[in-house]
């Protein structure tokens, strides 16, 4: 229970942060040249000034900035994200349509990066300064330095164009009428390249962190004790070292949640996936301020939620954190 209490306190502490983000961004977006009505009118190919004024007052854009901000925050409490003039429906609907794709992409990429990074990190640490370690560490450095979108594009050239093993983009085969398991398999098929692309950079980071923390933990006294009492090397690594070495990696998972959301903007563009990142890019180009603010709000919530989960996990892995507070 104390774990929950601790995590809840952290959660409450993130509320002012959220408010700060929203107010800051709202004011920042007021500086943007042109508003939604301008974009809308430009899309319609012009309109007379009277109608433009009418549109402004319809969307509440004629009120003073602070009044608009107050209205926006009040509506936000009821989870009303406003109306997207560009898409012609509530922002919440637009975002909810796109959210599952991004969540699926992120969750898969994160788990893959975490598992593979951990595994490779453990192997590298067990064979430190020998060829498996050098190979893995070099690979990690190269992965870290690769621009993810470029890796995705090269993946398309090799696996989609040359070998035609994988589809070049999209979330699923459109109009194929797939249902049930076939649909799941089809989506998984389409997500192989995007997930690999997004996971690459993070895999490299986890690998490095895991290797370093494994090496550190292996020098500690309790490991020597475990060896001295006759445990096999595998048992020492799995039961004693790994659990302690996992902590920095778990911390990093929370810290990187935001970066990963940013990375999915680019990856979704490369593979034409209808996700939140793609929506963010489109609303930047179309000056859809309401949608952009909504996306920022949702992604901040997402990051806070992931950090909440990480806190719980952390306390689970290391009970000292709870009793120590």
């Amino acid at each position: 229970m104390r774990i929950l209490l601790l995590a809840l306190r952290r959660l409450a502490a993130s509320l002012p942060t959220l408010l700060l983000i929203l107010v800051g961004l709202f004011l920042l977006l007021q500086l943007a040249p042109g508003d939604t009505v301008d974009a809308l009118v430009a899309q319609m190919g012009g309109g007379d000034p009277a109608m433009i004024e009418q549109l402004r007052s319809f969307y509440g854009l004629d009120a003073p900035v602070l009044v608009q901000l107050g209205r926006y925050l009040l509506r936000l409490v009821t989870l009303d994200l406003g109306f997207s003039a560009i898409y012609g429906k509530p922002v919440a609907d637009v975002i909810l349509e796109r959210l599952p794709v991004t969540l699926l992409l992120m969750a898969t990429a994160l788990s893959f990066a975490f598992a593979a990074g951990m595994g490779l990190g453990v192997v590298a640490a067990r064979r430190v300064n020998r060829w498996p370690d050098s190979l893995i560490s070099t690979l990690g450095l190269v992965f870290y330095a690769t621009p993810s979108f470029w890796f995705g594009m090269m993946g398309i050239v090799v696996f989609a164009v040359r070998l035609s093993w994988l589809p070049a983009g999209g979330f699923e085969e459109i109009g194929s009428g797939n249902e049930g398991l076939t649909r799941v398999l089809d989506i998984a098929w389409h997500l192989v390249l995007p997930v690999a692309t997004l996971a690459l950079t993070y895999l490299a980071t986890y690998l490095r962190i895991m290797r370093a923390s494994m090496l550190e933990v292996m020098t500690l006294d309790f490991v020597r004790t475990a060896r001295a009492k006759g445990l096999g090397e595998t048992a020492v690594v799995l039961r004693h070292v790994l659990r302690n070495a996992l902590l920095p990696g778990v911390t990093l998972m929370g810290l990187q949640a935001g970066t990963m959301l940013g990375g999915s903007v680019v990856v979704e563009s490369v593979f034409a996936l209808p996700g939140l990142g793609r929506l963010a890019y489109e609303s930047v180009v179309q000056r859809d301020v309401n949608t952009l603010l909504g996306i920022v709000f949702v992604s901040a919530l997402l990051v806070i939620a992931i950090n909440f989960i990480v806190d719980m996990l952390y306390a689970k892995l290391d009970p000292r954190i709870v009793t120590g507070s």
Binding site: I21, L141, P147, M153, L255, G262, I304
Partner: protein
């Protein structure tokens, strides 16, 4: 000197330094080797590398010389990397130093702001900044700096927390020095080494961020940049993949070089940690 010797004994660090020097050489020699505007029409579009001796890296889909763009792009990337890093480290040092030195409500407030920046996906914030202030190369560079400062602020704060109650700082206070002098003249030089090492990470990420922005056509189109070239190659990827492949490889090598130099510096500065 021990430091240089330690650095030179690390083969990875030396390779990194060579890579960075090569990029610097490219940036410096760009105007001599390719005196023409790299964004002007040079020849028939989409010639493969080595097909035409005049264009040894080929031409892109609008007939511009790829080699010229790579050399001139080195300038852009280095400049963006350096300036964005200076901006990020500058903001980070000031905020982290003030928060760590004064503590209390100042610290609380500044850390809340830092947290707000870290909660926001940095690429998303970069998109918003570019949407508001435009794609001019100066704004893009400053914006990359603005989204990259929080980790350096945390690092500086942590260093200041351990240093602020040391005896030499107390001695400065007794001597009646002003806070500003104590922070920037006395404590900061002691806190600097880990921050300088971290600068290499920021620089690597800054180069990657700009290339991602350029790939989305949101960076300055009037500047020869590696990211712009990759973006240009997007449309002809299926057959003429080299247009995107070459600049991507150059970005990879540059970022790799910068990271290796950073790691080498770290190992040379903390010789006891080496091998970890």
């Amino acid at each position: 000197m021990g430091f240089l010797k330690r650095y030179a004994r690390n083969p990875a660090a030396v390779i990194g330094l060579l890579l960075v020097l090569a990029v610097i050489a490219m940036a410096v020699s760009a105007s001599w080797i390719f005196p023409r505007d790299p964004l002007s029409l040079a020849g028939r579009p989409l010639q493969w590398p080595l097909d035409n001796p005049r264009f040894w890296l080929g031409t892109d889909n609008t007939g511009r010389d790829i080699a010229a763009q790579i050399f001139h792009g080195a300038r852009t990337s280095l400049l963006i990397g350096l300036v964005a890093t200076v901006v990020a480290i500058g903001i980070g040092i000031v905020i982290g130093a003030v928060a760590g030195y004064y503590g209390g409500w100042v610290d609380d407030l500044l850390m809340r702001i830092t947290e707000a920046f870290q909660t926001l996906p940095n690429f998303l914030l970069l998109l918003v900044l570019v949407a508001v202030f435009g794609s001019n190369i100066t704004f893009v560079t400053v914006a990359i700096g603005i989204v990259s400062w929080p980790p350096s602020a945390r690092l500086t704060r942590a260093e200041f927390l351990t240093l602020r109650n040391r005896e030499f700082v107390q001695a400065c206070r007794v001597l009646g020095m002003r806070d500003r002098q104590i922070i920037f003249r006395e404590i900061l030089p002691n806190a600097l080494p880990p921050i300088i090492v971290y600068a290499s990470v920021i620089m690597a990420v800054a180069i990657l961020l700009e290339s991602a922005l350029a790939f989305l056509n949101l960076s300055d189109p009037n500047i020869p940049s590696w990211g712009n070239l990759i973006g240009a190659g997007k449309g002809v990827l299926r057959v003429h993949w080299y247009v995107s492949a070459i600049p991507g490889l150059v970005i990879l090598l540059t970022v790799l070089g910068v990271s290796l130099v950073g790691q080498g510096l770290n190992d040379a500065l903390n010789p006891r940690l080496k091998g970890r």
